[in-house]
């Protein structure tokens, strides 16, 4: 029976062989872009918002005759992707495979902060530039600048300060703050609390809750007793849905209600209808910003292809990251060092307006807030890019 195993191993090797030779011959075929994705595991629900944006970008590029790789040459694009099972260790392995085995021409980003941070050393080691997208943490700044960039404007400490300024401007005097214990929410809270104090906003409740919380009624009704002007719920998608359900039941009357992650997902508006109206959330993009001529066409194309609106955070960031790559390749070609220099120094024209990196961060796109207004996502802060005025929440 030991024979069975050696035969199995042999079969495995035999199955792999044609794959590797086929890939090796593809040098002059389509341009190959590799990425790893959380198709299964902890983050699996989030994957479509990113993969859909990638696929849309690919369709558009190929419809235009391929990716401009400089010197007037165009090559069609295809993706090489693997499931990392939402596990950073797998993602590290996948990017090593993409770079050293599959020898892809370019890389696109994986899902989530932990996985971005885990693969940063791999990129640096192989000197392979990659534009990140769905990562948001103050830790990003600790990454050594070089081969990875983060286009997000949701940098938690800035979000905290901007949010307090925004609330003060709307005459918020008292606030209840509930925060999930996961990193993004806590990082925001760390700067939000002192900023609220500085702006003279009084805290009537300040509680943390676990990621798998099933009931928020005690938190909400506790805060309701002092009827604060604002409910700031630093939540992740599942608790965002939970909060909306229970805030409605308990008739939260605060005119300023923020949920951190979730309201930009179309399912949220579908689930709560008018209850979702005038909810504030974090995000730096709206299809209605006319200063960004590419914003609306992206929205329309996404809607046409997938029959749902793009997620204003993740789909947009994912698309932006490839736009940046696309424009950098058109200037620099496929040489990794030239590409790195270009991404690090040029200004890019994206669906979210101009983007320029300083170190690993996008310093151009302002930290902003969105509000759901009659089924549409509008930028309501800061002044220079807002598409609509803030509206107080009047009911659920």
């Amino acid at each position: 029976m030991t024979f069975t195993i050696s035969r199995r191993t042999f079969l495995a090797a035999a199955a792999l062989a044609p794959v590797t030779t086929r890939l090796a011959m593809a040098a002059d075929g389509p341009l190959r872009i590799g990425y790893s994705m959380c198709l299964t595991g902890l983050f699996a629900q989030a994957a479509p918002s990113q993969v859909n944006a990638y696929e849309l970008w690919k369709d558009q590029v190929n419809a235009a005759g391929g990716l401009d790789i400089g010197g007037g040459q165009r090559r069609p694009v295809e993706f090489v992707s693997y499931d990392d099972q939402s596990n950073p260790a797998n993602a590290v392995r996948i990017y090593e495979k993409l770079i050293t085995q599959d020898k892809v021409d370019l890389l696109a980003a994986p899902w989530s902060t932990p996985i971005h941070l885990a693969i940063a050393p791999v990129l640096a080691k192989h000197k392979f530039p990659m534009v990140g997208n769905t990562a948001a943490s103050v830790k990003l700044r600790e990454v050594k600048p070089g081969y990875i960039w983060f286009p997000t404007a949701v940098i938690p400490d800035k979000v905290g300060e901007e949010l307090a300024a925004f609330m003060a401007k709307q005459n918020v005097k008292t606030a209840a703050v509930f925060a999930n214990v996961l990193p993004l929410a806590q990082e925001i809270k760390t700067t939000l609390l002192p900023a609220l104090e500085k702006n003279g906003i009084k805290l009537v409740a300040n509680e943390d809750f676990p990621p798998d919380i099933k009931d928020m009624t005690t938190l909400i009704s506790g805060a309701n007793q002092s009827s604060p002007d604002a409910f700031i719920v630093l939540s992740y998608p599942s608790d965002t849905f939970l909060f909306a359900t229970q805030a409605k039941q308990l008739n939260v009357k605060a005119p300023f209600v923020l949920s951190l992650i979730g309201p930009t997902i179309q399912a949220y508006q579908q689930a709560f209808g008018t209850g979702a109206n005038n909810i504030v959330t974090v995000g730096h993009w709206s299809p209605n910003q006319s200063k960004w001529p590419k914003a609306k066409p992206f929205f329309d194309a996404y809607l046409a292809k997938y029959k749902e609106a793009p997620d204003a955070l993740d789909s947009v960031l994912s698309f932006m990251s490839l736009e940046i790559l696309q424009q950098a390749v058109a200037t620099a070609g496929l040489d990794k060092e030239k590409l790195r220099e270009t991404i690090a120094s040029a200004t890019f024209d994206t669906i979210n307006g101009p983007v320029k990196f300083d170190g690993v961060q996008n310093t151009t796109t302002p930290t902003s807030f969105l509000q759901i207004q009659d089924g549409s996502l509008e930028l309501v802060w800061p002044e220079q890019i807002k598409t609509k005025d803030f509206r107080p929440k009047t009911g659920w």
Binding site: N87, R93, Q101, P114, L117
Partner: protein, 301 residues
């Protein structure tokens, strides 16, 4: 007993082959070998308690997570080898402290308790990190993959040797007696409590170090990821597919599932999960002895 020299030779051959992987010069295959060694180390350690005594732990991620946490915290004060040793020690200590109360319950209650305990520790670490104002941690200048790989391979070898020694030692026979009938074992003078506790602690130390090594590899720590319950599930699944109660079980199970996932993950991740589920059912129903049982049956024939 004729199979024994052959068995040892086979184990040595596998270890030797794995030790040669870095010479391939392929970072990808080194990464695969790292994962293989990791699962072997984890599952052999788990088997030390669960396969021998029948106390099925569904919370081994807790030792792995605590190892990762201790490493990432202690790295500020000490070099990597000491931090890794501390990871193992912390996991062992945790097992010692919780072992006595936890090991008093049996069967499904033990399974649920270990799972719940792992989730409890995860939430406690998250809370602690929040209080410390540290929501995730990064590691800079981790050792090379090659160094990490040799350390992981050493753990796999030690865990396998430990399992092999246990299988034919007085200690192992005591554990088997516990599995067959704990009350009877106690009645004839087997020091039941001491043996169980010893097995529990022994099965925790190596996963602690494994957790430390893995966080060095990914260079990022967040509590919800480090204590991922999927790790616990995978340990049990792989052990069942490989075959409980045989030293070769974890080896075969790991090699089989890692190769399977390497073949399928490329295009069919969902199919992989379905196949995994189907395999588990098939093995439990029709091949309770696992791959190791199939192999030894084949050898006898």
């Amino acid at each position: 007993m004729t199979g024994k020299p052959f068995q040892i030779a086979a184990f040595l051959a596998v270890a030797g082959l794995l030790a040669l992987v870095p010479l391939l010069g392929s970072e990808y295959w080194l990464g695969v070998a790292f994962i293989v060694a990791m699962w072997i180390a984890l599952i052999q350690s788990w088997s030390l308690l669960s396969a021998t005594t029948g106390y099925i732990s569904l919370g081994h991620a807790v030792f792995y997570g605590i190892g990762a946490y201790v490493l990432v915290v202690s790295l500020d004060w000490m070099p990597v080898p000491y931090a890794l040793a501390l990871s193992g020690a912390a996991a062992g200590l945790l097992a010692l402290v919780v072992g006595l109360p936890v090991l008093r319950v049996k069967g499904p209650y033990f399974v649920i308790l270990t799972f719940g305990f792992a989730e409890l520790v995860k939430n406690l670490v998250m809370l602690l990190e929040t209080r410390l104002g540290q929501f995730s941690r990064m590691i800079f200048d981790a050792p090379s993959l090659e160094a990490l790989y040799y350390a992981m391979l050493a753990l796999a070898v030690i865990a396998t040797a430990l399992a092999a020694w246990t299988a034919q030692s007085r200690f192992g026979r005591g554990l088997a007696a516990i599995r067959e009938n704990e009350v009877a074992a106690e009645a004839i003078g087997v020091p039941v409590t001491r043996l169980k506790l010893f097995a529990f602690v022994a099965s925790a130390i190596i996963p602690g170090i494994v957790g430390g090594l893995l966080v060095l590899r990914t260079s990022y720590f967040a509590a919800d990821q480090a204590f991922d319950p999927v790790v616990s599930f995978t340990i049990v699944t792989t052990a069942i597919v490989g075959g409980l109660g045989r030293v070769s079980g974890p080896l075969l199970g790991t090699l089989f599932l890692v190769i399977l996932s390497e073949l399928l993950w490329a295009r069919f991740p969902q199919a992989y999960m379905m196949i995994l589920g189907a395999l588990l059912i098939v093995f439990i129903l029709f091949v309770p002895q696992g791959l190791a049982g199939l192999v030894s049956k084949g050898l006898k024939r």
